[in-house]
Amino acid sequence: MTDDALAAELRRRALALFGRSLHIRTVDTGSCAVCESEIRLLSAPPYDLHRLGFFFTPAPRHADLLLITGPAVRAMDTALLKTFEATPDPKAVVAVGACALGGVYEEDGFVHGAVDRVLPVDVYVPGCPPSPLALLHGLLVAVGRLEERVAALTFDLAAEVER
């Protein structure tokens, strides 16, 4: 098999892997608890994100995607960075709500003011709070970004064997 064919195979399998089972870890960096309420409702019957193959996970090591709320309080820096580092690649970061996008708090001694001042953000979901439907849309956009990222991976069999 050529490298191209291997990459195509990997892509197909990764798509199958993520397509029906994408795990989400949430991090609250100082939200007002309303974004949390909307995230909670994602698994309620009216939205039921499980039917789309999304699941919440209690551990960052099982996560493919981070859902981050709040204005990135500095006191959460360590916890947020540890969560990000513990999440395996490829991963996507979704910033949720006006605070996380930088629309509520200015940067100061308490907060960074926006999540993308701390972490690379892939998808921004605006709203105060974003409704569960807006969150679902954001998640679907994030899956597209993950697919691109997986597709861009190269796989060098010889190097892998050597390692």
Partner: protein
């Protein structure tokens, strides 16, 4: 409404500041004496304690707010202090302890006793540049925090601050020997956003934006307390129709919050069917909020001097009874489900004595036999014209808290429907200058208090925001310790249904 005692019976030092609020200014050496004197005339509940410093280096003023619930009155004791210490109230009144720690963190003065303090809002890594309302403690005062030691058979199980989906960031140190929770302590400081400090220098409109977003699930409760403080400071009176609109929004906030608490209780006992059905009702209520007021969580309904929006009475009249009827069916089924009720009974017990000693408020206090509800005890328009009978339970466990919430949903539904015909728009111009006032409202989680002072230009000098969560979190470790095991902790948290955001503000 029964005839209530008003100013009668207060010590002579007190004078009337505003309707339902009295104040006294005393010297530091008189503070403890006058609070004792107050306690002999009325059952006085410490509702808040805070400090303010008009300018850097100026004299620090301490204010203790006592709620005299049987006299329909708040009593504010004001006391200037200087030096490194202020008179300690917590020796006699444990309800003051968290606030004393907060004053130490913000203003570098400590209560005049030898007890170690707890860390409340300032994170441990904070240095000299960390923003505070006053200034940082000098190095020799910095080691006052209690050392945390876990010894013997016990170990500490660290949990958080990042938690499961839909739960706010909170660090819990569970001290255990394996299953039983021996002790539990909480770190709320991960979410401290310095809202009180942010409000300094802002005008009322802009400040309300932050006061609502400090604790979004109580946006109306906290926002109303804030607006009422502004209006009292300006000597303004809100139109009757607008007051009804505010009350409708506040009661609708209570209904959706209690429905969410029931859903969370089912989630934590593992009853998926109950959770799903309660969440269907919750979603219906949130959509009704959006249909009636334009926002699922009722943000921006209030304005200083009135309301920005008027609820759509037809939508409420049509959809609220349907949603509340479905909620009743769900909760009746829940209370017949023994596997669920067994987990709630005798879990997370709080005694009447504990609730009083710690100065708890809201459903948590009412479930432990304290019949306090600021809508009934400290009435303001329109609650002074409405029939209110706060539900009370005696057992103080998770089940009692759930029963109180269910009774409150039914009562709030009636309050909303009663007022629809009278509700309307209205916003008057309020420009408070060189004035200060106290505002209060009964948020879903209990009494919300605000004290605001304005300078001569109408900007905020000091805004003290005290959501109900600030008072009630201090009872969480007591409730968790009472012969509970690990898996009870989430159930207790769901029944308290507090916000970390409200505490950490």
């Amino acid at each position: 409404m029964s005839a209530r005692q008003t100013t009668a019976g207060l010590p002579p030092a007190f004078s009337e500041l505003a309707p339902g609020v009295s104040g006294a200014r005393v010297r530091p050496d008189q503070l403890v004496a006058i609070t004792n004197e107050l306690a002999t005339t009325h059952p006085a509940r410490l509702a808040d304690l805070f400090a303010s410093e008009p300018r850097h280096g100026a004299e620090l003023t301490l204010r203790a707010v006592y709620a005299l619930d049987d006299a329909a009155r708040y009593a504010i004791v004001e006391c200037p202090t200087s030096g490194d210490e202020f008179p300690a109230l917590s020796d006699l009144d444990p309800a003051a302890f968290v606030e004393e720690c907060e004053i130490y963190e913000q203003f570098a003065v400590r209560p005049a006793n030898d007890k170690p303090l707890n860390r409340v809002l300032i994170p441990p890594h904070a240095d000299a540049t960390f923003p505070r309302l006053g200034h940082r403690p000098r190095p020799e005062l910095e080691s006052l925090h209690a050392r945390h030691v876990v010894e013997g058979e016990a170990f500490e199980f660290p949990f958080g601050p990042v938690r499961a989906a839909g739960w706010e960031s909170l660090y819990m140190g569970l001290v255990t020997t394996g299953e039983e929770v021996l002790d539990l302590y909480l770190f709320h400081w991960h979410k401290h956003r310095g809202i009180e400090r942010r409000l300094v220098g802002l005008k009322p409109e802009r400040a309300l934006f932050f006061a609502e977003r400090m604790d979004g699930l109580n946006a109306v409760g906290n926002g109303l307390a804030f607006c009422r403080a502004i209006e009292t400071a300006a000597g303004a009176r809100v139109a009757a129709a607008a007051a009804h609109t505010r009350s409708i929004a506040l009661e609708m906030e209570r209904i959706y919050n209690h429905a969410a608490a029931v859903a969370a209780t089912c989630q934590t006992t593992g009853l998926s069917v109950g959770q799903a059905r309660a969440e269907i009702v919750l979603e219906e209520l949130l959509r009704l909020n959006a249909a009636a007021f334009g926002h699922r969580y009722l943000f921006d309904v209030l304005a200083p001097g009135g309301v920005r929006r008027v609820g759509d009475a037809d939508a409420i009249r049509k959809q609220l009874p349907r949603a509340c009827g479905e909620f009743r069916r769900v909760t009746e089924a829940l209370l017949r489900t023994n596997s669920h009720v067994d987990r709630l009974e005798a879990t997370g017990m709080l005694t009447h004595e504990q609730a009083q000693r710690l100065g708890l408020v809201g459903p948590v206090a009412r479930a432990a036999g304290c019949p306090i509800d600021s809508r009934a005890d400290h009435p303001f328009a329109p609650y002074d014209q409405l029939e209110l009978s706060p539900p009370v339970r005696e057992s103080g466990d998770v089940l009692a808290r759930m029963e109180v919430m269910l009774a409150e949903v039914a009562a709030s539904e009636q309050l909303v429907l009663e007022q629809l015909a009278d509700a309307g728009p209205g916003q008057i111009d309020v420009q408070p200058r060189s004035a200060a006032a106290l505002g209060w409202a009964e948020s879903p989680r209990g009494e919300a208090l605000t004290w605001v002072s304005f300078d001569s230009r109408g900007a905020i000098e000091r805004a003290r925001l005290r959501p109900a969560s600030v008072r009630n979190w201090r009872a969480f470790d007591d409730a968790a310790r009472a012969e509970n095991v690990f898996t009870d902790i989430p159930i207790i948290e769901a029944s308290f249904w507090l916000t970390v955001a409200g505490f950490a503000r």
